[in-house]
């Protein structure tokens, strides 16, 4: 049994009279100690997927279809209380905005101790001890444990939020854009930290980012999302070095490489579709250089592609990107 199985997850939001489908028929799985990256442009549904996994959707959102199984238990079917007990203990999240993720008028240490005591019967002293240990592990001085968030620098706050996410030794950790707000040096540090912690804590990691290079460093598997759907998923190397989907190819090519010779940066013309209007065809068709009539009529299912990947394209295995490269 996989640790995390997401099957045909669909998440919808109601804004006024419109129903927006932010996540459409998304499936993936995560095994123990595995790491998966969810990448895509802003608004493609990756963060929403993460929040859906934790049951943290906004009031106007709901899981319209699909299952989310953590060790076999379906989160969409259990009671609110059970979900709350699961949170943080089985699955936790490192929030994107570390600046505001902590309560400014309570000491950081108190918030961490609170989180621990919510799920385990420990005395306050023991909780503080464990908290300080985690602080040490993520690289914050132990003396800072009982300080307030505003006394921490930006990078430290990010680590503090990480420490908070780890305190209950979750089985799965979601990281929402962990490197986005950081400078390059800090990014490197955080990524190394993630790698080490994953080893040490035996975590399964789901990393959400629009920074493909960051994801490529850490995650063995990667899923590319577009307009709420998974377009391509598989082993990271396979997906990034030998993409099957035109979108993946374009995405990879829009990043300059430090190693290869300087080339023209490709831009994908057009913009992502409004998620309130779901066309029956492939969501990428309007911008795809290879699209044909079939693409606008019918949305392709995920098909097996080379290297053990799955790709959502009618012309999987038939496209040759070298001509455009």
């Amino acid at each position: 049994m996989e640790l995390l199985e997401v099957k045909h997850l669909t998440v919808q939001f109601r804004t006024g009279n419109t129903l927006v489908t932010a996540v459409n028929d998304v499936s993936f799985s995560l095994s123990h100690r595995e790491s998966l990256g969810l990448v895509g442009e802003s608004g493609c549904g990756k963060s929403t997927t993460a929040y859906a996994l934790m049951g943290l959707l906004a009031k106007n959102g709901k899981i319209a279809a699909g299952e989310v199984l953590i060790e076999g238990k379906d989160l969409t079917k259990i009671s609110d209380k059970e979900i709350r007990d699961l949170r943080w203990k089985d699955i936790s999240i490192v929030f994107q905005n570390s600046m505001t993720a902590l309560n400014p008028v309570r000491k950081v240490g108190d918030q961490i101790v609170d989180a621990l005591q919510r799920h385990e019967k420990v005395s306050r002293e023991d909780a503080i001890q464990r908290g300080k240990l985690i602080f040490d592990r993520v690289g914050i001085a132990k003396e800072r444990f009982m300080q307030y968030p505003h006394e921490f620098s930006g990078g430290m706050k990010q680590r503090a939020v990480l420490a908070l996410a780890l305190i209950c030794h979750p089985k799965i950790m979601l990281a929402d854009e962990p490197t986005t707000a950081l400078d390059v040096v800090a990014q490197r540090q955080v990524l190394n930290l993630f790698r080490d912690l994953q080893e040490e804590f035996g975590l399964s990691l789901l990393m959400i980012s629009h920074d493909i290079s960051a994801v490529a460093e850490i995650c063995e598997e990667i899923a590319v999302m577009y307009a709420g759907r998974i377009m391509e998923v598989g082993e990271t190397k396979q997906v990034l070095h030998d993409p099957d989907h035109p979108y993946t190819y374009a995405l990879v090519n829009s990043f300059p490489s430090l190693h290869k010779p300087l080339t023209h940066l490709e831009q994908i013309p057009g913009s992502p579709p409004f998620l309130a209007q779901i066309s029956p065809g492939c969501p990428f068709a309007p911008r795809c250089p290879f699209s044909e009539d079939l693409c606008s009529r019918e949305c392709p299912p995920l098909m097996p592609a080379k290297g053990g990947k799955l790709c959502r394209c009618h012309f999987t295995n038939h496209l040759d990107f070298s001509r455009d490269g």
Binding site: W88, I93, Y148
Partner: protein, 320 residues
């Protein structure tokens, strides 16, 4: 320690304030039309008394020296003598202040508690009927002048229903109630008036504060950790949402005294506000100045204390 520094800084800031008010006060006698001595002594003073005053206040000396003498007297607790009460001002103020505080303290505390509760309730039921009722009712209350409100209450409860007395602090003559109950009966309407008049401020404030806080990221974090809505609300949302209330409570101390003055006039409640008003009518400057000064000092000290309270609740201020 950073806290001590903050407290010290705030204390130091108080001093120029009080000094400025004192000087303003002092200027009042000098700005008033006519000879300052007549102003201080009243119209029917004897020549000897006026000469005494001239001596005592150093009215023959240059302005700066006069200011010094004035401050010197203040520091000794000498606020002069009221010519309409024929008693030292300080004694009168002491008596009257107790009476006003009786009125203000009770109603303010209840207003803050009830206002906060209703505001939070309205925020929780945002958009629904409860919210509409509370918000609109609050708006209407806000538009009622305090003295009108007082008079309406008198009309209803004292004139029409005859349940409560319409004015004063105690009943004249023999009453069938004990002294304490009599006092309470007289206290109800004026306190209720003050309570109602300040209620909308706290309702509106708390409502918008809770609505704002509910959207904050750390609330999502608390939910993600697995706390129930009730705990998230109480431990995180409310605590943070109540901070502006403390600030506003500190800032509205002067408004409270203004409201008290008008209420005391409507209900003939013999407190500081009434005293100042009567003093103005009688041109009894020692009373006016004394009352003004004491009230302002109370406001400054009160707001200082509330600042200190806020410091404990929101540690960010200390580190700025």
């Amino acid at each position: 320690m950073k806290f001590a520094l903050y407290v010290g800084r705030r204390l130091l800031q108080m001093i120029p304030m009080i000094l400025a008010v004192t000087i303003l006060n002092f200027m009042i006698i000098n700005l008033a039309p006519g000879d300052p001595v007549t102003v201080l002594a009243g119209e029917q003073a004897t020549q000897e008394y006026m000469d005494e005053l001239r001596e005592a206040y150093g009215l023959n000396e240059p302005v700066v020296k006069r200011l010094g003498i004035y401050i010197g007297r203040l520091l000794r607790g000498d606020l002069g003598v009221s010519y309409s009460y024929k008693q030292p001002v300080s004694r009168i103020i002491w008596e009257k202040m107790k009476v006003t505080l009786m009125l203000i303290l009770l109603s303010e505390v209840v207003t803050i508690v009830v206002g906060t509760f209703l505001g939070a309730l309205a925020a929780r039921k945002e958009g629904k009927l409860t919210d509409q009722v509370i918000s609109n009712g609050s708006m209407m209350l806000y538009c009622m002048p305090v003295f009108w409100l007082g008079m309406l209450l008198i009309l209803l409860f004292a004139v029409k229903l005859r349940w409560l007395p319409s004015s004063g602090m105690y009943s004249f003559g023999i009453s069938r109630y004990s002294r304490t109950v009599d006092l309470i009966r007289h206290l109800i309407l004026p306190s209720f008036t003050l309570f109602l008049v300040h209620l909308p401020t706290y309702i509106k404030l708390t409502r918008s504060s809770v609505v704002e806080v509910a959207d904050e990221d750390y609330i999502t974090t608390a939910r993600a950790i697995g706390f129930s809505e009730k705990v998230v609300y109480r431990r995180h949302a409310l605590r943070n949402a109540l901070l502006p209330t403390v600030t506003v409570a500190g800032m509205s101390l002067s408004t409270v005294f203004s409201g008290a003055l008008l209420t005391e006039t409507v209900f003939s409640w013999p407190g500081m506000g009434r005293m100042i008003y009567d003093g103005v009518a009688a041109r009894d400057y020692p009373i006016i100045m004394g009352g003004f000064l004491v009230t302002t000092i109370l406001v400054v000290v009160g707001s200082f204390l509330i600042d200190i309270l806020y410091m404990y609740l929101d540690p960010r201020v200390v580190h700025s």
